[in-house]
Symmetry: D3
Subunit: 69 residues, 6 copies
């Protein structure tokens, strides 16, 4: 499957924290650069997410903001 | 200002493409890793975004999906 | 690729309307039921979207609201 | 009330799963086609959502991605 | 229609700026407090938005971030 | 830090409700006008959010819908 989302950042799962409805997944996409995702618990289970697994962090371009110091 | 968004990826603006209402901004957040943002044209102007500028790409954790091959 | 987004609605492209930065794509996901997506112009080009093409409309569960009459 | 969101998919609530802050609602929008929403627990209570209730699943066009096989 | 989005801020349209696919709408929700929305051009037309019109700015709670100085 | 999000509504925290993964924050942005945010529990802790604290409710323009009666 190929998705229209402009951002598909390849990385490795660092942490999976399970809540009641949602699960928080931390992905290392470059040395020392992490992206955190909140997905549904059932999605995390379907994808069999676990520490060390290779994944993509996917983000629509309209969901990215730009900030400056 | 400190924002609740979990993801603030430091990087450098690579490209700014201006539309009629929106502007597309490409940010390199690690060697060869780019994130694309669509923000309003006026926001891009307010932030004086231009190639080479140091910025943060900011994304809420709920806006990140996880995909596997 | 398998995505964490809970909603992947299979359908057929009905219309592709190109803007300066964004493109509007209408997908029929059931008889008479349509979903409209705004994606970047370059994503639409990458996916070679055109009328009649089979696609999935993908939506994160947190991006769906519920309304009642 | 009439909303600017391009997608208002009429359907029937199939399942309501309550979490601590959020609630997951599954809506059948066509024969065998379901959409899942995560909304706040208090919103679900305000709307008195329950199995069998007729609702709309509402999604902004910018929150829809397109994928191909 | 009653929507699950937690935030429905009543206000008056201050400005409507039309683009090729999207339209930017500015709403005054309190004295001197404005909210800007980007919606599709066709949605803006359907709602017959114009300066002075009474509207609601609707935002899902998961789309709001919190920042501090 | 200056953010591209068009909407930064200054206000005061009225309520903080902690869940297992997420936290719900209510902000009064004008006399009697409140905005509710769902952010991650750890973000709420990082920002030391508590009743009475001055904050900004930040929303991207593409995440705002317009509704009429």
């Amino acid at each position: 499957m190929q998705v229209s989302a402009r951002n598909a950042l390849k990385g490795t799962v660092k942490k999976v924290e399970v809540g009641s409805v949602n699960t928080e997944v931390t992905v290392e996409i470059a040395n020392g650069v992490e992206v955190t995702a909140i997905i549904t618990k059932s999605s995390a289970e379907n994808l069999k997410l676990a520490e060390g697994k290779e994944v993509y962090a996917i983000v629509k371009a309209t969901d990215v903001m730009i900030a400056i110091d």
